[in-house]
């Protein structure tokens, strides 16, 4: 079983987790509440950093793909669906990605979601486009599709599609600048 060389938490990496070359994961503590049964539960690309305080609180159908050259300073990802983070994405402190506003670790969900067939959805519940920047304490909920090159302001709450090269901010969030 694979382990992290620098790890302080006495747990191997879950078998359905893969970490690319020259990438960094702070600890297997990130999988304290990990229940994904997908073939690929978490896939981290090359040259990406997942730092202290990040958590993958995934349910059985949860699946997270992180691209290359991404930085997650300490995001909590709470999902029983598919989440895709493309290359060069920067996610600042205390950001949460969740299926709904009342996200909680799967151990605290008493009922299996209806209509589940054990496979994750093809379409991601949340998608963060290449080179997007997610500000501190922002909250992304299902339906959030952040276009490539866009910026989500600090503490914004987003559950809708944001076009590429825009700036979205506030709670409720609104698009405050649009690029070319």
């Amino acid at each position: 079983m694979a382990t992290l060389e620098h790890d302080w938490f006495p747990q191997p990496l879950p078998e359905n987790v893969s970490i690319g070359q020259r990438s960094w994961l702070y600890s297997t503590f990130a999988f304290r509440h990990f229940h994904s049964r997908q073939a690929s539960g978490v896939r981290i690309g090359n040259d990406s950093g997942v730092y202290n305080g990040s958590f993958f609180d995934l349910g059985p159908q949860g699946e997270v793909e992180i691209g290359n050259f991404c930085t997650l300073v300490g995001a909590i990802i709470c999902s029983n669906r598919r989440i895709v983070i493309h290359d060069y994405v920067f996610i600042a402190h205390e950001v949460t990605l969740a299926d709904d506003a009342f996200g909680r670790p799967f151990a605290a969900v008493s009922v299996e979601p209806a209509g589940t067939d054990g496979r994750a959805a093809i379409h991601p519940a949340i998608e963060i486009g290449e080179n997007a920047w997610i500000g501190a304490r922002a909250i992304l909920l299902a339906g959030a599709r952040i276009g490539a090159g866009s910026v989500v302001g600090a503490a914004a709450v987003v559950d809708f599609a944001v076009p590429p090269n825009s700036v979205v901010a506030g709670n409720p969030a609104r698009i405050v600048a649009s690029g070319p």
Partner: protein
Amino acid sequence: MSDKVFDDIVGSWDYTTLPPNVRVGQGCWFERRGSFARLKSVQDPGLIIGDRVQVFTWTTFNIEPTGRVEIGDDSILVGPVFMCAGRINVGRRVILSYNVTIADSDFHPLDPQERRLDAMANAPFGDRSLRPHVISRPVVIGDDVHVGIGAIILKGVTIGHAARIGAGAVVSRDVPAGARVEGNPARPLPPQGP
């Protein structure tokens, strides 16, 4: 990592080692011992936790000597930070999601002159007995309320039964039973159909 330190963060520590003014119901699960490290209440009880309450790693009970927090049966505390100088009451079957803050006081004076005195009294070697008086007003959260990720609930707020507090909402006024509020400042949304 030694077994004991490991136990302290995965819920397998001995809950009977909590201070005697903490009342714990049946079937509870407390992930991290450190959630209770800032419990300074001298009230008896200072913290009451009902049956089958789950407390996840991010939760912090920051209870001043004068404070008392009560949590109802079957509630799920994912990551609330309780800042309590007086009373915070949480009902049954309540969900408090990640990064929620509930404060029953501002903890510091609004008046700038008094705040300077407060700063001096709070210095590392300051005299805490010189801290200016600050008010606290109870926070009451009804049964079946769900509080969204990152929401902040401020002093004196009463949230009625089954209300929904949106992610990131800042709540400084009462929320009626069954209402949905969102935003900063929190505002009501039109009622949702079935």
